[in-house]
């Protein structure tokens, strides 16, 4: 019976230790994605702990699992997170299903005004229903999809000459998607410093939201609309418009002609890898990573340049970024609110930007010297000026997964045509909205 006894002792012992670990008080847990800005937030939050005596715990999940894990956590009524820096698209579900605490009363009491934050970010990260003054989050991290390019390669005379010879114009930062793809095509397979390089790393990830975020960057530049009339869910003719079909075809062409081999399931991290290892001339990625790139040992400094998503027929950028919310299931809402109050202060917001977070506070992002403070700040403001977001409906996860499947089937798995993919997408979305009683 030694086995049984040992097991029993082990079980009792471990249970004791596990319980002991929860005994500490005055600490709260903040949940976010695992990426550069999260490390900056850890650094920033040390000041909060010093001021308030509340210890901060962090639960960071990689982006590819972030939505999955955290929405599961919210839907199971979990108490793991007291504060949640959730994606902009979750705000609908957070509000409607009661995952997030409504903050209006708290903002009024503490004198926090949403007028102090950039209007685009308040609308995207905090409000539900959209455009109404019902706040479920404080804008925490502004973000949009942008591009990084190898400034050093672009500046080489022999490369410039070769480009001019081939395309009859100067090699410079692409002004529209046609130029963007031309530039990528130019670099594809070219030998630089004895190494074969490729055009660009774009998003193609299947599992979470990757390829949708990439494809929408093209769609928005082609003037994509989700509905003919806002709020009516009439998608036929908008989602599958000729311009949308053209944009989706362009993205597929981009994937096929100008990406590194095997770049078929890539999101943020894979693009960073490809770029930092010198495999590609350009990469598509969130502005959130740009501070890290600017101080990277290999591609930092003057090696890299940044530009907002180029236009095709209109200006348009895919929105990223998050607001910070208090989780309704938390037992420590008091402390969590205290953190938000602290975080909303202009001084803290200024330090947040300095450490590598994108503050949405007007005192920071609206300051006259902001655009020139870093090589990417100006482009960031430009991108934020024309951002569009995916559906923020409570059923957003369902809508997103449908798009992931349809788009990946077409772009990467080469199934059907762009028109068919978008037609099927409308069918999927219609079912979702019907089930949700919206149409």
């Amino acid at each position: 019976m030694r086995v049984l006894k040992t097991c029993a002792v082990a079980a009792v012992l471990t249970a004791g230790v596990v319980n002991g670990a929860y005994a500490q008080e005055k600490e709260i847990t903040l949940c976010w994605a695992a990426w550069d800005p999260a490390n900056a937030l850890v650094e920033l939050s040390k000041d909060f702990t010093a001021e308030s005596g509340i210890k901060m715990n962090f639960e960071f999940v990689p982006w590819t699992n972030f939505a999955d894990r955290m929405l599961n956590e919210l839907n199971s009524g979990g108490k793991l997170c007291d504060l949640m820096i959730g994606d902009s698209q979750w705000i609908g579900g957070g509000a409607v299903y009661g995952h997030y605490v409504k903050l209006n009363e708290f903002f009024d009491k503490e004198g926090i005004s949403m007028d102090d934050f950039l209007p685009a970010t308040v609308n995207a990260y905090s409000t539900w229903p959209k455009g109404t003054p019902n706040y479920y989050a404080l804008p925490a991290m502004g973000d949009a999809l942008g591009w990084v390019y190898r400034k050093d390669w672009f500046a080489r005379p022999e490369i410039q000459a070769a480009f001019k010879e081939k395309y009859g114009r100067d090699l410079e930062v692409p002004k529209n998607w046609d130029e963007l793809m031309e530039t990528a095509e130019f670099f594809q397979g070219r030998e630089i410093d004895g190494k074969k390089v490729y055009g660009a790393a774009i998003y193609t990830e299947r599992g979470s939201e990757g390829i949708t975020m990439g494809v929408t960057a093209a769609l928005y530049a082609w003037g994509f609309k989700y509905e003919n009339t806002p709020g009516k869910y009439d998608m036929d003719g908008a989602v599958n418009s000729p311009a949308a079909v053209e944009a989706l075809e362009a993205y597929k062409k981009f994937y096929e002609c100008c990406t590194p081999p095997g770049h078929s399931d890539a999101y943020m991290v894979a693009n960073l890898d490809a770029y930092k290892s010198g495999q590609v001339a350009m990469q598509m990625n969130w502005f959130a990573f740009f501070p890290g790139i600017a101080k990277d040992e290999a591609v930092g400094g003057d090696v890299s340049g940044f530009f907002a998503n180029p236009r095709e027929t209109v200006e348009g950028s895919t929105l990223g970024g998050q607001g910070i919310s208090v989780v309704a299931y938390s037992d420590k809402q008091e402390e969590a609110l205290q953190y938000i109050k602290w975080f909303a202060q202009p001084e803290v917001q200024a330090k947040w930007w300095k450490l590598g977070g994108y503050s949405c506070h007007k005192a920071v992002a609206g300051a006259p010297d902001f655009p020139t403070s870093t090589p990417f700040a100006g482009e960031f403001l430009k991108a934020m000026g024309s951002v569009k977001d995916f559906w923020q409906e409570p059923t957003y996860a369902e809508l997103l997964l449908a798009m992931q499947k349809r788009v990946h089937d077409y772009v990467v798995a080469d199934k059907g045509t762009a028109q068919e993919a978008l037609d099927k997408l409308i069918e999927d979305w219609t079912i979702t909205f019907e089930d949700d009683g919206k149409i």
């Binding site: 097991c7 550069d36 639960e59 199971s76 890898d273 101080k295």
Partner: protein, 317 residues
């Protein structure tokens, strides 16, 4: 032709055939070990070496993967690192070479510990309950016995995701989501079918005469069970326990869906060990190595019991 009786038998083939068969088996074994050996080696590579082309077989070993596995780090400017003074430990020094500083321990140990707690907890329960049930099924008249036994086995036909849907709802109501207790109960239930079937086979093999003799000697039924039957079952219980433990150790789907932070085990965690700006393959390989090691050891120790366990006792030696 030789007249030795043994020469007729297939299992005693000629020397050359034997040599050939042995050679082929060894080749298969070696080829099938390549992935594992490669992972163990990768754990000792530096991140650039781990993504070198062509793959590096000879490399300078480093502990970076293991350091990265157990710490979280943040990237800093060289000036800032300079200002910290000389590194205190060898792992500090290692990390600083990449312009990083250690900000604290990683979550790997916690997840590993959860795996141990949940593994042993559920194994203990499954074997304990399984032993009792197996004894009863083997020795007593129980109405609908065959149906019950089949029902116990059929619970393993459900895809785990299908089971997870109602369990998710149930645990949400009961507050068992993301708790070690919830996962232990679930794994116990899943393992019980294996444990009852296996242990029943072991009890069946113990002659009833032993207990009857004990009862004649004045033991009660219960005493006979504890003092006579249980000691005889020792080997069977040990084998069953190790099978339950390996299942709980390796399980992924339930852990992924029903735990998030507090009770998460290692399998859903290992795939998401990331480095800053890239999947940190040496750290993933290091975590994988540490996670698989106990199982490899068990496999070697347990090889004689394997057959019975993996076939639900349907095949005995």
């Amino acid at each position: 032709m030789s007249v030795s009786t043994k020469a007729y038998s297939v299992s005693e083939s000629g020397k050359r055939t034997k040599w050939l068969a042995g050679g082929m088996v060894v080749v298969y074994a070696l080829v099938s070990m390549i992935p594992l050996v490669w992972i163990v080696l990768t754990g000792f590579k530096s991140p650039p070496d781990s993504i070198a082309y062509p793959p590096k077989v000879v490399f300078e070993p480093t502990m970076e993967g293991y350091v990265n596995l157990f710490t979280s780090r943040s990237r800093q400017t060289p000036e800032y690192i300079e200002s910290l003074g000389p590194p205190q430990t060898w792992y500090d020094a290692l990390v600083r070479e990449r312009n990083m500083v250690i900000t604290g321990p990683s979550r790997f140990l916690g997840r590993y510990w959860n795996s141990i707690v949940i593994g042993f907890g559920s194994t203990f329960l499954a074997v304990f309950l399984g032993t009792l049930a197996a004894y009863a099924f083997s020795r007593f008249r129980i109405p609908l016995k065959d149906d019950l036994l089949f029902f116990i086995l059929s619970t393993r036909m459900m895809p785990p995701i299908a089971v997870a849907i109602p369990i998710f709802l149930m645990y949400r109501e009961l507050g068992l989501s993301d708790t070690a207790l919830g996962i232990i109960l679930l794994y116990t239930a899943v393992n019980l079918s294996l444990s009852v079937w296996l242990l029943k086979g072991f009890v069946d093999e113990i002659p009833r005469e032993y207990e009857e003799a004990a009862v004649i000697d004045g033991y009660s039924r219960l005493q006979a069970f504890v003092k006579v039957v249980l000691p005889q079952m020792r080997a069977g219980i040990a084998a069953t326990a190790i099978f339950c433990l390996i299942f709980a150790w390796n399980e992924y789907a339930f852990a992924l869906l029903l735990t998030s932070g507090q009770a998460q085990t290692a399998p859903p965690f290992i795939p998401i060990i990331i480095g800053e700006g890239g999947l940190d393959w040496p750290a993933v390989a290091a975590g994988t190595t540490l996670f698989l090691l106990p199982v490899v050891i068990f496999t070697v120790l347990l090889r004689d019991q394997l057959l019975r366990g993996i076939t639900f006792g349907a095949v005995r030696k």
